[in-house]
Each structure stands twice: as C-alpha cells, then as structure tokens.
C-alpha cells in the first residue's frame, strides 16, 4: 500500500455539495415570507447535522436548542422558554470548541434579538405574524409592477400590451428597462431551480418591440381639483401622471431646463439614452400635465404661495446637493462634485477631460458613472476608495464595467489631502493606505495602515461620496426633517400638514428610481383620497394563461453589451437587446407565481390600486 493518496470526491460528496448549493439558492429566494421561529429551528437542526459529535455544547446543546425553538413554534412555550433558549445559546457560543458549534449559537442569539416580537407573538397569541408569501417579484418591486402579467404578455407576442400593463404601476417602463436596479429579481422563485428570470432584460425587450405607447387607462372626468408638484423627477412625474389620468388638474414646477431629475441630470446617457427617457416623459405630458420649467420653488414663501393656490402639493425635489469631503484644499481648482459634473453633462455641456488624469473618490454607483463618463471624455481615470473593491456599494456589474473600460482601481486608499500648486490648481491627491479590519455595523471597516501616505497624480478630482437634500426652505415652512431628509410618513404625508405630501429621494435620501416611482404612486392614491375621490387605476388586459411545460433547469439569458473598444469612446447605449429567440425563452422560464402557489389563494394579482 502507498503511503499517501490524493483526495478524490465521491459521487455522494458531490451530491451533498449540490444539495448545499440548492439550499443556498432556496434560502436566498424566499427569506421574508417564512416563520422566523421555524427558520431558526430548521437552521439549528441543519447546524446540528454538521456537528462532528466531539463536544458537549454542540453535540447535545444544539439539539436541545432546536427542541426549545420547536416548542415556541408550536405555541407550547412560555416566556421562561425564551430565557432558557438565550442561556443555552449563549453557553454554546461561549463554550463550543469550533465554529460549527459557536457560530450556530451566535446566529440563534442574533435571531432571538431580531425576531423577539415574533417569538413573543407565538408564545402569547399562538399565531405567526410573519408576512405571507405572495408573488415574490411583485412583492419585492417597490412599485409592485405586475411582472408575471407582462412576462406572460411577452410570451404571448404582445409587447405593446406588456408595456401598457407596466404603465399601470410605473410610468417609466422605458427608463427602468435600462437603469432599474431590479430588486424584483432577488427573490424570484426561479432561483429555486436555476437562476432568477432576467426581468429587466425582458422589460427592455418589450419596450423595444412595443409599437406604440398607450395610457394604462382612459382619462377620467375632470374634477377641477388643482395639484402642484414640486420637482419634475421620476417621483414627481409619476404622481403627476396618475393624478392627471384621474381627472385632476396637475402642474409641475421644475427648477431646471429639462424634466427627468436625476434620470437626466445624473444617470449618463450610455446607460440611459435620452431618447428613451423622453419617450416616457412624452406620454406623461400627453396626459395633459402642465409644466413650468426653470421654475425654482426657492423659499418658504414661494412654497406657502403654492400651497394656498393649489388643493394639494407634492414635494419631490430629490437629493441634488453634494456632500463635501472635509480634507485640505477640497475647494481647489480642478476639484468637482459628481452631481455638478453630471448635471453639466445633462444640460449638454461636456467638460474637457481629454488626456487629463482624473481621480474619482468614492465606491458607489454614482462614482462609477462619473468614472465611466470621464473615460468617454478621453481621461485617464483612477478610482480611489477607502475599502476593498468587494465592499463597494456600487452594483458589481457597474464596477466590472468601469474596470473593463480602463479605470484603475485603487482600493484601500483614504483621501487625506488635495495637493495643489501655487495657483491653487490640483496636482494630485495624497492618500493614506488602509488595512481592512473587523466588522462594524455589518461591514468590514478600514483603518490606516502602518505605512506613510502616498500622492497620486491628478489634474481633476471628482468627489462622489453622496448627495444631500436642499430642504431648508421646507423646514422654514414648518415641515419636519430628519437631518436633511423631509420626514414624511409611509403614506407620503406629514402629520398636521393636510394637503402636503412628499416622497422620493428627498424623503429617503439617495436611493433608486423605482423607489421614487413607488412613492409617486402612493402619493397619487393618497392625494386622490385626500381630495375626496376613490379613482381606481386599472388596466383592462386579460393576462394569458400560464404555459404548461415542465420547468426544468435552463440557463438565464443575459443582456449583452457592446464590445469595450467600441463603446468606451462615446455616450451611446452600452447594452444590446435580447433577440426574439432569447426573450421568448426567458419569458417561458417564468414560473407564473401569480397562478401557482399561495398567490392563487391570497396576496395575488392586484388589478387595481
């Protein structure tokens, strides 16, 4: 017999690992709609199954922990049980020999804290208050767009109807087809089989194929009620569109030359072509919305006047000021803020970056937009970020896109000082190298490395560390704020300020377009109700019956991009379209969670709102 042999993987081990992978997908796909007590118990059971059996806390303790959790789940426990669970988990965490034991207990302790009300509900009232499953993608979409509905219409070769149906909940289907962050895909049930449906890809396909843009419903009879919208971004225009369709008389006041908010003055055109944006805006304007451009509601007084003149007001001013970086010479010549730079581009003023050395400070989506725009303007671009690349808040696809297009990534570099010449002109950025360290608030945090700072050469520095909200004037008018965010309720209202509504980025802080649209939709419904009406938005389209083939694993079709060499010198679309063949296959992967599963019973399709 030989002394050593190489490890080989048995078929059983392979299957076990496939099972784990499938479990991972399963947990990722539907975490919110399960009983937290049951999940904690099942998790403990799984961890217990991994115990090697050597030590007491893990071998026995995890089993007993599971018994206790089961008792809570079944409504057989008392408050005292919770104390025993806590003591047991704490002891296992503090005394197990290896991570299989102590990490399991740490997670149980964590869920005990996070889900305390759920645990108590089981004990005191004997039912589970966790939300019930609905249509996963629709639940995750902030605007609750009828996703299986429009996918079914695409599969039925009806792209125009598909877009019409989207417009029932979201008047920006074209814009969202390109730039939506698609939270809908995160918990897509298709993840249980292979990968989520490429929902945004299908949306992009149907807006491309639609032969005309139509209102989701007929305009209703005029009510004579006047509504003012402050801010012509996605949130304000959404509210304007639906209220106008409901028969109200809407006027939008927009500070800038063009409508669209950050869709125009933020997002670069290589990601969202302005013709596509205009398509959505045109249909909104066709509804009869009146617009005053270059009209700044610039003071508390101006706001008060509007309030008096209109029956209701919606504030959707977004987050358009930049956050300043507090380092020396941050106001030197050659230092720009991301919003300033993108705003200029939005108005058609392309800065001269040809052959300039540009450093972008930040790791968010906006930083990537700035970096990739700078590449297109001919610059040599470096992105300086104080954490690691994987810690960046930007979508991985954006980071990869930036790198592919030639941006240098300088991770773990914290800006320390802008280096200037005698004319106060930027020459470089002094940065302090960092080491990534322990987690704080759920993220690993950096600290200064034990090495001296270095200077990176630069002609231009673009600071992209976040936006703030120009909301002082509204506080002066009496509206409450949290920091710079207007403190509106989830109903987009303010207590004690009847008739004033607000939503979008100026309430949430910088977020996503679809969240801003969702706020606009909520505001439209609540303003309609405030004005004394109950107009229902409804689109009369029969949703095709589900396809009946077996759902066997099948690869997800991805959106292709123009080759790098081709795309990095212009501001034209980066993304290509799905072909008919690809789109129909992708649509046929949809599991139709509106028809199969709990949604057939409850939490199903909302035909009206």
């Amino acid at each position: 017999m030989s002394r050593l042999s190489l490890d080989t993987t048995t078929a059983a081990e392979q299957t076990a690992s496939a099972l784990y992978q499938s479990l991972q997908l399963r947990m990722a796909a539907a975490p919110t709609a399960s009983c937290p007590v049951e999940i904690a118990s099942a998790y403990t059971h799984l961890c217990h199954s991994q115990s090697c059996g050597k030590c007491v806390p893990c071998r026995i303790g995890l089993g007993q922990l599971e018994n206790l959790l089961e008792a809570v789940k079944k409504g057989e426990a008392t408050e005292a049980t919770l104390d025993v669970i806590e003591r047991t988990a704490r002891s296992i965490k503090n005394s197990a020999d290896c991570a299989i034991g102590y990490q399991a207990a740490a997670e149980v302790l964590r869920s005990l804290v996070a889900f305390r009300p759920d645990f108590e509900n089981h004990i005191q009232k004997g039912f589970c208050s966790a939300p019930r499953q609905g249509i996963p993608c629709v639940q995750e979409c902030p605007a609750h767009v009828d996703i299986p509905g429009y996918i079914a219409l695409i599969a039925d070769h009806r792209p125009t109807d598909a877009v019409k149906l989207i417009r029932k909940d979201n008047p920006f289907p074209t814009a969202c087809a390109f730039i939506c962050e698609h939270p809908c895909e995160n918990q897509c049930r298709r993840n249980l089989i292979d990968r989520s449906i490429n929902i945004r890809g299908l949306k992009s396909y149907c807006v491309d194929k639609a032969t005309e843009d139509i209102f989701p419903m007929d305009k209703m009879a005029p009510t004579g009620k006047k509504v003012a919208i402050i801010g012509g971004g996605p949130s304000g225009l959404t509210t304007a569109f639906y209220l106008e369709l409901m028969g109200h008389d809407v006027t939008v006041f927009e500070k800038r030359k063009h409508l669209g908010g950050m869709l125009r003055y933020g997002i670069p055109s290589y990601r969202l072509n302005r013709d596509n944006l205009q398509r959505d805006i045109n249909l909104i304007l066709d509804s009869g919305v009146e617009v005053h451009r270059d009209y700044d509601i610039d003071s508390a007084e101006a706001f008060e006047n509007l309030k008096n003149e209109f029956d209701a007001t919606y504030i959707a001013i977004g987050a358009h000021s930049h956050k300043a970086l507090k380092i020396a010479h941050a106001d030197a010549r050659g230092v720009l803020s991301a919003v300033e730079m993108l705003r200029g581009i939005g108005d058609g003023n392309l800065p001269d970056f040809k052959d300039k050395k540009v450093i972008v400070i930040g790791g968010g989506n906006v930083a990537m937009d700035v970096a990739r725009s700078s590449i297109r303007l001919g610059a040599d671009v470096t992105i300086a970020y104080r954490r690691r690349q994987e810690d960046m808040t930007a979508l991985p696809a954006e980071v990869e896109g930036a790198i592919a297009e030639g941006c240098h990534m300088d991770e773990l570099m914290a800006p320390a000082e802008v280096v200037v010449d005698e004319n106060d002109q930027v020459t470089g950025l002094k940065v302090q190298p960092q080491v990534i360290g322990p987690y704080r608030k759920g993220r690993p945090s950096p600290r200064a490395a034990d090495v001296p700072p270095v200077v990176l050469d630069a002609d231009i520095i673009v600071i992209s560390i976040g936006q703030s909200i120009d909301s002082q004037k509204f506080e002066d008018a009496g509206l409450p704020r949290q920091w710079d965010q207007l403190d509106a309720t989830a109903e987009t209202t303010f207590e004690g300020h009847n008739g004033v509504f607000s939503g979008g980025n100026c309430v949430t802080g910088p977020a996503t377009v679809i969240k801003a649209i969702a706020a606009g939709k909520v505001a439209a419904a609540n303003i309609d109700e405030y004005l004394g009406y109950d107009h229902k938005v409804e689109t009369h389209i029969e949703i095709p019956e589900p396809l009946l083939h077996d759902r066997v694993p099948c690869g997800r079709v991805e959106i292709k991009e123009r080759p790098i060499g081709d795309r990095k010198d212009d501001f034209d679309d980066v993304e290509l379209k799905l072909s008919d063949e690809e789109a129909l296959q992708e649509a046929s992967r949809c599991l139709r969670c509106d028809h199969f599963g709990y949604a057939a019973f409850r939490e199903g399709r909302q035909r009206t709102w």
Binding site: A33, S34, C35, E38, K73, K74, K125, G126, F127, C128, S129, A130, R132, Q133, D534, E545, L548, H549, D550, H595, A600, F601, R602
Partner: protein
C-alpha cells in the same frame, strides 16, 4: 373552440373552459375536494390532477384552462398514485371519526376515500388541537379541518368579515380565527356560510338537539314550535324529497309525532313584523333624519350583528321592530300564554331556523323576559331538525300533511316570501301601500324585488312621493352598498339586508349540498306558495287582525312598542 383529447375522446370545447368543466360536460368525472366554483379555485387538495401529454408534472383540472391540441388522461397510474397519496396525506391530519360526525352521511372526504379505496394508510397521524368555546353557536373542530381554505374564502370574498386566516406558514400551517383570537371576540356575523361551504365536519352549528329532546321529555312544559318560512323550501332535501313532498304541512305531522304540542309558523310573525315595520317606515318618511340615510330592516340577525361591529353608527337607522323569530317568541309568552291560560315559564318555545345567528339572537339579554326566561328557548337549524327526525327513525314521506295550529300558524303569502332576498321589502311595500291608500295594489306590483342578484332596486311611489327600496344580500354586498350610501354615491329610502347569499333560503343552517348553491332553487317554492295563497297581504291575515284587536290595538301602540320592538345596542351581540 379548441380541440382537445381526453381519455382518447376527441372534444371541441369553448376556449377558456377549465379541464374540469370540459370533462364534466363530456361525461368524464374528475374528483375534487377543495374546489368550489367561482369561490375557491386554488388547486390545493390535488385531487383533480390529470396527466397532460408532454409534461412530467401532473396538472390540476380545476384551474387549468384547455388549450388547442391538449392531450389529457384522467386515470393513469401516475394520476392514481398521486391522488391516492395526497388523499392519504390529508387523512393523516384528519381525525377520521365518521360514525360520530355531523357530516357522517354528507362528506366529500369520506366519499373520496371510499371511492378511491383508501383502506390503509402509511403515514403517522398528526392532529391539530385547537381550543374552542363550545358554548358559541359556531363550532370549529380543527382536528377535522383539511385546510381547503373555503371558509377563509367565503368569509373574505362573500361576507368580507375576514374571520378566518392561515395562522402559520410552514410546517405548522393551520386555519383558525384571525390572529388566533377567541371567536366570540371577533366580528363573526354567525351567518354560517363557512359551515355550508365546508366540505367536511370541521365546521358546524352548536348541537342543541339534546336540549330539545330533554324539553320534549318534560311532562310539565308545553312545547311550542315555530317554523321559519324558508324551512319549507329545504327541510325535505336531506330525505331526498322534492319541495312538493317536503311541505310545511308534512313537517307539521312529523313534529306532532315527535311530541311537539303546538306547531306554528314564523310566517305569522313575519306578517306581524310587516305591520310594525311598514308603519315605522311611513313614520320615518314623514320625519326623515338629516343625514338622508335610509331605514334598514332588522329581521336578519346576521346582518344586525354585522351592523353592530362594522357600522355601529348606523344602528339608529335600523328598524326597531324585532325579528319575526323574536316577535313570535314575545307574542307566545304574552298574548298566547294568556289566551291559553299558561304561565310563560310553562312554555318551551322553539324555533326552526335556516340560520346560526338566530341562536345567538335568542340568547341576547334584551330578548329575555323580566322573569329571566328567554322569549325563544331554543333554536334549531334545518340541519338539526333533520338530524332529530333521523334519530327518531321516521320516514317523513310516510306522513300525511296536516294543518298547522291556530292562531299562530296562519300566515299570508307576504309572510312566506320573507325567506328569500327581496321578500321582506316586497311584503312591506304591499302593506305600506295599503296603509297610505286604504286600498290594496296588485300583490305583484313590487316584483322587481325578486331575483338573486346581490343588490336590486325597486322604484315606486307612495302618495305621490317617489320611494326607492334596495334589497341586498351577502354582507360584502351590504358593505359596498352602505359605503355608497354614506358617500352619497347612491340614495334610497329603505334597505332590506339579508346576510346570506339569496337570503334565508341560502341560510347557513340549511341542508348542505357540497359545492352547490341552492338558494336560487329554493326561492321559487316560496314564491309559488305566495302566489297560491288566498291571503297575500300581511294586514289581511285574520290572526294578525285578531292579535291587534285583542292585544296590541294598533301598530306602534305602547303595548306593541313594549313587546314587539327593541333597542339595538352595539354592546350586545
């Protein structure tokens, strides 16, 4: 039309048809359990599975529509195995107890198990144990619940009271009162629709038959029974009798045989209700409250319970007239007792009702006499009546018809149609017309009130004043109407509400035909009786004339107010 093949039979089927309907229309029977047309088409029990060519997974026939070229087989090994396994799984969570179950002879689960030949089971029993207040008129036994969700759906969609809910997701999945609250603390109207829509014995009415038998056995009490109008359209169904066979007169003979002393008719007190309510309506029209809301009927206790929890602010708009059941009880223990020389507590007053809410109505303190005895001592549903007859081993067919007793067994056709949606309004309008004009109009003048639609309007005119009445049935429809009235989107003067779809003929205490709505089949029986009755106006009922002459004087007299009227308080349900 689409072409499909099912069990080698070629069919042309209208597009949009479900596989289940296509099969049924071509003589192929596919078993179902949770399915209830238009109400619960959720495919949860997996009994209706069929095999479709080109697909490994089986498909549900109840909620899958046919499509061109579909090739289906309804009885393959895979279908058989899946149905049988699923049925065994259902049974593993079901306390099989057919011999002592209210649904022992009327159970879809039992039928399936018998038909599929499930004689042994491979699974461990897992029975739910839920506490229940057995004094409440509605009883839930979760160890028999098969979680078909029908009760949830009927209370959500038809009654819009959302009493039932899925209490847990995951492995503890269970149906119960929402948030697991005690049933007496939620807004259950006691309409009983969940009971008639339950395929098994998980929901039932409180069984009051034992108390009935005890009273019949007591030689010191006189048992007086009133039979509600709608009973005559339904009681015979459990014995396979047609409406022509299962008449109220045959029922009178059966009840006499069982030992009841006096057999009377709630249609009599329905006439009495009309006398009071029509007079009240004329007063109301003369002195209309500013809010311009209409007068609502109060004869359906399910509706009154609903108004108390959902619209307490409207209680002042409910007619103060007691329901026919309670008027009957009150008259029995006053005028009739005096007439017969009986002390009220020597009378055991029973009512046979299509309804579970009547049980709680009879138990309310305000329906109790000063001496503490209730006006109506016991309420039996139609189903309890039939069970009682069965337990006596009687064959009702073999009984001759016999007249009901005088004077409380005499009723007009107007009193009889009380058992159907629209009937109360029609009867009231007939008499209101007479009160104002001192002459009768044709008895069919107000027949626009008839029909099964959820909400129907009757426009007429009394003394030159236009009057609009609306008859609404189903509490969801009632809620909708009330919201419209309150918002000023609709206007009317008089509203008749019946909690159950179709009115009492569709009542929650009526015989159960799983998966079928029988209200529309039963209503014609009542209208035929009305048409054939020589007296079609409440005010022409000789017993009514007699009771006013001898006892009450006129409608709304002081005595009538004291005995026949009530005060609706939200605190009392």
């Amino acid at each position: 039309m689409v072409k499909i093949t099912m069990d080698r039979q070629e069919m042309d089927v209208p597009a949009g048809t479900t596989i289940l309907d296509a099969a049924e229309n071509h003589g192929i029977h596919i078993p179902t359990l949770c399915y209830y047309a238009h109400l619960n088409e959720i495919g949860s029990c997996r009994m209706c599975l069929v095999e479709m060519q080109g697909k490994d997974q089986l498909v549900t026939a109840c909620n899958t529509k046919v499509s061109e070229g579909m090739r289906l087989a309804t009885n393959t090994p895979a279908v058989r195995e899946a149905r049988q396994t699923n049925l065994e799984l259902i049974l593993s969570q079901h306390r099989v107890d057919c011999t002592s179950c209210v649904r022992g002879d009327n159970c879809s689960l039992q039928d399936l198990a018998n038909n599929m030949g499930v004689t042994s089971q491979d699974y461990e029993k897992e029975l739910a144990a839920q506490k229940w207040d057995m004094a409440f008129p509605l009883i839930r036994d979760n160890s028999k619940c098969i979680k078909c969700m029908r009760c949830v759906q009927v209370c959500d969609k038809i009654q819009q009271l959302h009493v039932w809910d899925v209490l847990h997701p995951g492995s503890e999945s269970d149906i119960g009162v929402r948030e697991n609250l005690p049933i007496s603390e939620v807004n259950c109207s006691l309409c009983g629709q969940c009971v008639t829509h339950c395929p098994v014995g998980a929901l039932s009415e409180r069984d009051d038959v034992p108390r009935m038998m005890a009273a019949l056995a007591d030689p010191d009490v006189t048992t007086v029974v009133q039979i509600a109008p709608s009973i005559r359209a339904a009681w015979g169904e459990d014995f396979g009798m047609t409406p022509k066979e299962g008449t109220v007169k045959r029922l009178a003979s059966v009840l006499r045989h069982i030992g009841f002393d006096y057999i009377f008719d709630t249609s009599f007190s329905a006439d009495l209700t009309i006398m009071e309510e029509a007079s009240e309506f004329l007063h109301f029209m003369g002195d209309r409250p500013d809010d311009n809301l209409p007068l609502f009927t109060s004869c359906c206790p399910g509706w009154v319970r609903f108004a108390k929890t959902e619209y307490p602010e409207l209680l002042g708009h409910l007619s103060t007239s007691k329901s026919p059941q309670q008027m009957f009880g009150a008259v029995t223990k006053t005028w009739y007792a005096e007439k017969m020389g009986l002390k009220p507590d020597q009378i055991f007053s029973v009512s046979i009702m299509p309804c579970i809410a009547k049980k709680s109505e009879a138990d309310m303190p305000s329906m109790t006499r000063e001496d503490g005895t209730p006006d109506v001592d016991l309420v039996l549903t139609t189903r309890e009546l039939d069970r009682m007859i069965k337990s006596e081993y009687l064959d009702p067919r073999s009984f001759p018809e016999s007249e009901l007793d005088d004077p409380l067994g005499v009723a007009s056709g107007a009193g009889v149609i009380f058992g159907s949606t629209g009937g109360v309004m029609e009867a009231a309008l007939r008499s209101a017309y007479y009160f104002v004009n001192d002459k009768n109009t044709d008895a069919d003048t107000f027949k626009a009130a008839r029909g099964q639609d959820g909400c129907r309007e009757v426009d007429t005119e009394i003394n030159g004043i236009p009057i609009r009445g609306i008859a609404v049935n189903g509490l969801g429809n009632a809620r909708h109407l009330i919201e419209d009235l309150k918002a000023g989107r609709r206007q009317c003067d008089f509203v008749e509400v019946m909690a159950c779809p179709g009115g009492c003929v569709g009542g929650g205490g009526q015989p159960i035909h799983d998966g079928e709505e029988w209200a529309a089949r039963r209503a014609p029986t009542l209208y035929n009786l009305d048409e054939r009755n020589t007296i079609r106006f409440s005010h022409e009922n000789p017993s009514i004339k007699e009771v006013y002459k001898e006892y009450f004087g006129t409608p709304l007299s002081e005595k009538a107010e004291a005995v026949l009227h009530t005060h609706h308080s939200a605190a009392e349900r």
